[in-house]
C-alpha cells in the first residue's frame, strides 16, 4: 500500500504543478522554465524551517509557498518591465543558477540533499490522511484555476493574450496582471514542493532539475493548454508512461534519458499532429453561467 500511496501523491503533486503551470503559460501566455525551481524553493524552505528551526510544519509549508511567491515576483518584475520574452531567459538563469546555489550551501545539504525532514499528519493519522491532504489540495488548485479563468479575470487574460497594446488602450495594466499570474502559479508550485518534502522526507537538487520543466510542459501541451482537465489528463498520462516502462526492467542509467526523449518526442508529435492537446480548448472565451443567467432573467 505504501508504494501505491507514494504514486498517488506523486501524481497528485504533478497535477498541481501542471495545473499551476497551465495558469502561467496557457492563460497568462508567459513562457517560463523555472517551475521546478519554485517547487524546490517551497520544498527547501519548508524542510529547513521545520527541521532546523522548529517551525510547525503547516506554518513552514505556508512559508514555503510565500518564499516561492516572493521569489517569482522578484524574477518577474524586472523581466516583465522590459518585455514578455525576457521572462523566459531570466527563468532559465534562475532555474539553473538557484539549483547550483542550493548544491553549494551547507544549510541546504549540498548535492546530497536534506534528510530527516519532519513528517506531517502521518504519525498521528496514518499515510491515508496525507494522501487525502494532497488530493484535497489538488482539487482546490484545479477549482481555483477554473474559477479564475472563467470569470472577470479570465476575460481580461483572454483580452491581454489577444492584443496587449489594445489591452493597454482600454486602461488595463498587462504588466501587473502577468506578475500576479506568475506569482500565483509559482506560489502554488512552492506549496506543492512543501507537500512533497514532508511526505518523502528527503529532497535533493537532482529532483528539481530542468528535465522536470520539460516534463511539466509536456503534461500541459499533451493534455491541452488553457483547459481545466488538460493538465490533469497530461499529468496522469505522463506519470503512467514512465511507470509503464519500468516493467521493461531497463537499467536506471538508461531510464532517465529515455524519459527525457519520451517527453520531448511527445511534445514534438503533439505539436504536429494535435497541437490543441488531448483536451482541446475552445477558441472563444465565454463568461461563467452567472452572467448568462442575468441576461435571460
Amino acid at each position: 500500500m505504501e508504494y501505491l500511496y507514494g504514486i498517488i501523491i506523486i501524481v497528485g503533486l504533478y497535477v498541481i504543478l501542471a495545473t499551476s503551470f497551465n495558469l502561467i503559460i496557457g492563460y497568462g501566455g508567459l513562457v517560463s522554465i523555472a517551475h521546478p525551481v519554485f517547487f524546490a524553493l517551497g520544498a527547501y524552505t519548508s524542510a529547513i524551517l521545520s527541521r532546523d528551526f522548529g517551525v510547525p510544519v503547516l506554518l513552514a509549508m505556508l512559508a514555503g509557498m510565500l518564499v516561492a511567491l516572493v521569489a517569482s515576483i522578484a524574477l518577474a518584475l524586472p523581466s516583465l518591465r522590459v518585455s514578455g520574452d525576457y521572462l523566459m531567459i531570466a527563468s532559465i538563469g534562475f532555474q539553473l543558477g538557484l539549483l547550483e546555489v542550493i548544491k553549494n550551501f551547507r544549510f541546504t545539504g549540498g548535492p546530497g540533499g536534506l534528510t530527516n525532514i519532519p513528517p506531517f499528519l502521518i504519525r498521528d493519522f496514518g499515510r491515508e490522511s496525507y494522501v487525502l491532504l494532497v488530493l484535497a489540495v489538488m482539487l482546490g488548485v484545479i477549482a481555483l484555476v477554473w474559477w479564475i479563468s472563467r470569470g472577470d479575470y479570465g476575460r481580461a487574460m483572454s483580452a491581454m493574450r489577444d492584443d496587449e497594446l489594445a489591452f493597454s488602450s482600454i486602461g488595463r495594466d498587462a504588466m501587473w496582471m502577468k506578475i500576479a499570474i506568475f506569482a500565483l502559479g509559482s506560489g502554488i508550485a512552492g506549496f506543492a514542493g512543501a507537500l512533497y518534502a514532508h511526505y518523502f522526507r528527503y529532497i535533493a537538487p537532482e529532483q528539481f532539475e530542468i528535465l522536470q520543466s520539460a516534463a511539466i510542459l509536456t503534461m500541459v501541451v499533451v493534455g491541452g493548454m488553457r483547459t481545466t482537465w488538460g493538465p490533469v489528463v497530461g499529468a496522469l498520462l505522463l506519470q503512467a508512461l514512465p511507470q509503464a516502462i519500468t516493467f521493461l526492467n531497463l537499467p536506471p542509467s538508461v531510464l532517465g534519458p529515455i524519459q527525457g526523449l519520451l517527453f520531448t518526442g511527445l511534445v514534438l508529435v503533439f505539436m504536429f499532429v494535435r497541437p490543441q492537446g488531448l483536451v482541446p480548448a475552445k477558441d472563444i472565451w465565454r463568461a461563467v453561467p452567472r452572467a448568462k443567467a442575468e441576461e435571460t432573467r
Binding site: D152, R155, L165, S169, I170, G171, R172, A291
Partner: protein
C-alpha cells in the same frame, strides 16, 4: 480657455525621419477637431505620442492641465484619454459584449485579490458595466449582435465596436484613428451620430480621417499636417479651398 488636452511643442524623429515637428494642438471640451493630411504626414504618430506608445524627443502632453510625462499608456487611459485604432484591434477571442465589458474605467476583475476575496464587488460592477455596454451597443445599432463574435461582424460594425469599447471608460478626450475607413451604409450613419453625441456630451474629440465629407460634416475645426508639422488650421471650408494644401494632399 484651457483645453482638455494640450500638446505643446511635441517633436519626434526616428533616425532622422521627422514624424512630429514642434506640434502644438489643443482639444476643447465638446469640440471635434479633424486632423487631415496625406499618408505619412504623422497623424497616427501624433496619436501614438499623445498616448505614450511612442516617447517624444521633446515637448509635453497635458490632460486637464496635468502633464502625462512618463506615464504608461494604460495610466493615461485611466486618466481620461481614449483612442481607437485604424485596424480596430478588437479582442477576437471575446464576444462583442465582452470586448466592451473588459474596457470599463475601473475593472475590479483585473486584480486577483478581488477575484479571490471580493466576488460581491465584481458582481455589482458587472451589472453596471453590462447596462452601459448594452446601452452603447444599442446606440450603435449593434444590440442584436452583443453575443456574436467580433470576427463574424462586417468590418464597418467592427469599427463601431472599437468606438464603443473606447467609450466604456469615461473618456474626457477621444482620439479616433480613421473611424470611417471601410465603413459604409448604416454603420456610416451610426458612426456620424455617435461621434456627434460624444462631443455634445462634453468630450474633446480628435479625428484622423481621409473621408473629407465626413470630416467636413462633423468637425468644428480642421488641422492640416504635413511631414510631421502642422501647416494650417481653421474651418474645414477654408482648408479645403486652399489650393496649396490641396496640392500637398494629393501630391500633384
Amino acid at each position: 480657455m484651457a483645453g482638455v488636452l494640450e500638446v505643446k511643442n511635441l517633436s519626434k524623429s526616428f533616425d532622422g525621419i521627422v514624424v512630429a515637428r514642434n506640434v502644438d494642438l489643443t482639444l476643447q471640451s465638446g469640440r471635434v477637431v479633424g486632423l487631415i493630411g496625406p499618408n505619412g504626414a504623422g497623424k497616427t504618430s501624433l496619436f501614438n505620442l499623445i498616448c505614450g506608445v511612442v516617447k517624444p524627443d521633446d515637448g509635453m502632453v497635458l490632460l486637464e492641465g496635468k502633464s502625462l510625462d512618463g506615464q504608461p499608456f494604460h495610466q493615461r487611459v485611466r486618466d481620461g484619454l481614449s483612442r481607437t485604432w485604424q485596424h480596430t484591434r478588437l479582442f477576437p477571442s471575446l464576444p462583442v459584449i465582452d470586448n466592451l465589458l473588459v474596457g470599463t474605467h475601473d475593472y475590479p476583475g483585473e486584480r486577483l485579490i478581488n477575484v479571490l476575496f471580493g466576488p460581491a464587488r465584481l458582481r455589482a460592477h458587472d451589472t453596471i458595466a453590462r447596462d452601459k455596454a448594452q446601452g452603447l451597443l444599442g446606440k450603435m445599432g449593434l444590440g442584436s449582435v452583443a453575443n456574436d463574435l467580433v470576427s463574424d461582424l462586417p468590418y464597418g460594425q467592427q469599427k463601431l465596436v472599437g468606438v464603443a469599447r473606447a467609450l466604456m471608460g469615461d473618456a474626457k478626450c477621444l482620439l479616433l484613428d480613421e473611424p470611417m475607413a471601410g465603413v459604409e451604409g448604416q454603420a456610416y450613419a451610426a458612426m456620424q451620430r455617435v461621434v456627434r453625441e460624444v462631443a455634445e456630451s462634453g468630450v474633446a474629440v480628435c479625428v484622423v480621417e481621409h473621408n473629407i465629407a465626413f470630416v467636413r460634416d462633423l468637425c468644428d475645426e480642421g488641422v492640416f499636417m504635413f511631414s510631421g508639422a502642422i501647416l494650417a488650421r481653421g474651418s474645414l471650408a477654408e482648408l479645403i479651398r486652399d489650393p496649396q494644401l490641396t496640392e500637398l494632399y494629393f501630391g500633384h
